[in-house]
């Protein structure tokens, strides 16, 4: 069974998904970041495929992507790093990137590489629903690779239903209308949105992302969804930290509100 699907089957609450950009801070950090995050208690790991033009991302992820590309990160290297990381852990792994990267690599070849390296799911924020259904859905289903679409406070109800039908890992619930790494909407507005979606009784589990940065914002998000995604805050921590493994352990402990190492 797909590792993402079995995760949500076995755990319903407080799921922690941490994002990092592959190739950042250093080209060959991927393996150690995945291994340490998993050991520290991260439930799901989202690996950013660095892109030259990341439209949905704020400054932190843009800059980490530029660094990663300058370091020489590319998809073949990333798949081989993931394959190595898979030797240490069974944590579900999700690749996040932009559709042009998959399109250029070749959809069929890309899905095959996911399968053989141990990637469980994809997030492609600029892949439209219609084109996914028309051109890609079959490949994903045949190879048991999950896909997660995004919803925002402005996504109309009929689209939320459609996204629920098409997503089969989790739904990526964007906390407010902003690029990644920003601050959150007002409490009241946000909770109204969280409750509205909660009351729709969707079939697919939901993770809240964008603007989640610490224990408080993580806990709040977990009240209204199965868990949350942290990206920019983790990248900033990696940039500030000196010893990679300690930085990662401390960061995850901080989110889980456990004693620091």
């Amino acid at each position: 069974m797909n590792r993402i699907k079995s995760l949500f089957k076995n755990k319903e609450k407080n799921i922690l998904n941490i994002y990092f950009t592959a190739g950042h801070p250093n080209l060959n950090d991927t393996e150690i970041i995945i291994k340490t995050l998993a050991e520290a208690g991260t439930d799901l790991i989202e690996i950013g495929m660095p892109y030259s033009d990341p439209l949905a991302d704020g400054l932190t992820i843009q800059q980490s992507s530029s660094v990663a590309l300058r370091n020489g990160m590319n998809l073949d290297l990333l798949f081989s790093q993931i394959k190595n990381a898979r030797k240490h852990t069974e944590v579900p792994l999700v690749l996040m990137g932009y559709f042009n990267q998959v399109f250029q690599y070749g959809v069929e070849k890309f899905i095959a590489a996911c399968k053989s390296s141990g990637v469980d799911g994809l997030i492609l924020p600029d892949l439209p629903l219609y084109e996914y259904e028309r051109d890609l859905k079959n490949y994903f289903e045949e190879n048991d690779i999950a896909i997660s679409f995004l919803i925002t406070p402005l996504t109309e109800e009929y689209r939320v239903r459609k996204i629920d039908e098409l997503s089969n890992g989790f739904i990526y619930m964007v906390s407010s209308n902003a690029t990644t790494g920003g601050t959150e909407d007002s409490n009241e507005k946000q909770i109204k949105y969280y409750e509205r979606i909660h009351n729709m009784n969707l079939e697919t589990p939901r993770l809240i992302g964008f603007g989640i940065s610490d224990f408080n914002s993580f806990s709040k998000a977990c009240k209204y969804a199965n868990g949350a995604i942290i990206g920019s805050a983790f990248i900033r921590a990696l940039e500030k930290g000196t010893k990679l493994e300690n930085t990662i352990k401390n960061f995850v402990a901080g989110i889980r509100n456990k004693k620091l190492v």
Binding site: D53, L55, A56, L59, S66, P125, T152, A178
Partner: protein
Amino acid sequence: MYKVDNRGYYGKFGGAYIPELLHPCVEELKQNYEKIISESDFKKEFDQLLSDYVGRPTPLYFAKRFSEHYQANIYLKREDLCHTGAHKVNNTIGQILLAKRLNKKRIIAETGAGQHGVATATVCALMGIECIVYMGEKDIERQAPNVKRMKMLGAEVRPALSGSKTLKDATNEAIRDWINHPNDTHYIIGSVVGPHPYPEMVAKFQSVISAEMKKQLMEKTGNENPDIIVACVGGGSNAAGAFYHYLNNKNTRLIAVEAAGLGIHSGETAATSVIGSEGIIHGSRTLLMQTSDGQIVEPYSISAGLDYPGIGPLHAHLISSGRAEATSITDDEALKSAFFLSRKEGIIPALESAHAFAAMEKLEYKKNDTIVINLSGRGDKDLETYTKHFDRFA
């Protein structure tokens, strides 16, 4: 056959490859723009501003000495005589009227050379609407006079600091701004690029160019159809406007002139249709310059207006289906042609338009063919560049 379908595709090119965050903005536009621009009060206001404010119709000028040299009947469509000095304002007038009817209080735009930024700042001043123009940090340095013009017109110029700090990054920044301000803001894209419905909408606003051409050719020659239309293509808005009403007329050849920069295979080029491949840029499936990993490659041309790594999806479709012929012109060929036109006709063209004129050297045509070259902008903004090369070409 060359019309956009209801999902925004020209053949296999186009569509709207956008993050969900942008979906409400683009959807609002898609649902409303056709209805709004076909309303009679919109048309009336648009036509009136084009005539009284922009100065349309622009002349179709028979270039006698230029024609003698090339042994053809060459007409210049004088978009350089539009207010602000280029065709860009046709589109910004249309979009600002649309934005007003959508009750938007804030306008954002991207600009490379600054021509579209100036045209946007101009219409925002005209309507009293807040205007923010994103411009690559490098372009702000290279195009100082246009930055001053935008500021004088009351616009805020925000430097795009991400990526390569040029036009594609300014476009990314404008899109990110729109994501963060989905309710009160309209994004005025300057070319026939971006997610559906932008390519078709911008082409429609620019189609006034070919609509006028038809009438003027009829008056001057007794035939509304020329043998050939030549226009330069960066994103492709002036070419889209010049081709628009001729798309289904197979007897008129359409020539899209791209910038070859230092040469097509020099690594310093913007000849997208030659070295580009199919992919997605700024929400549109089209031809673009990219690596085998799908990373977008920074283009190069001496002309900042042609310095874009993609082309509009309509042009990708026209070129790949054989309806339009693509050719490319190097920096030196464009410079030479700018000096030649200046001396032959007393018209200093924009560097972008100079690429279209230089195509006459490569084009195969019959003696006495009727050829229209779209003179998309005037050359004042490029005087510094021209001056640098004076010794070689004057």
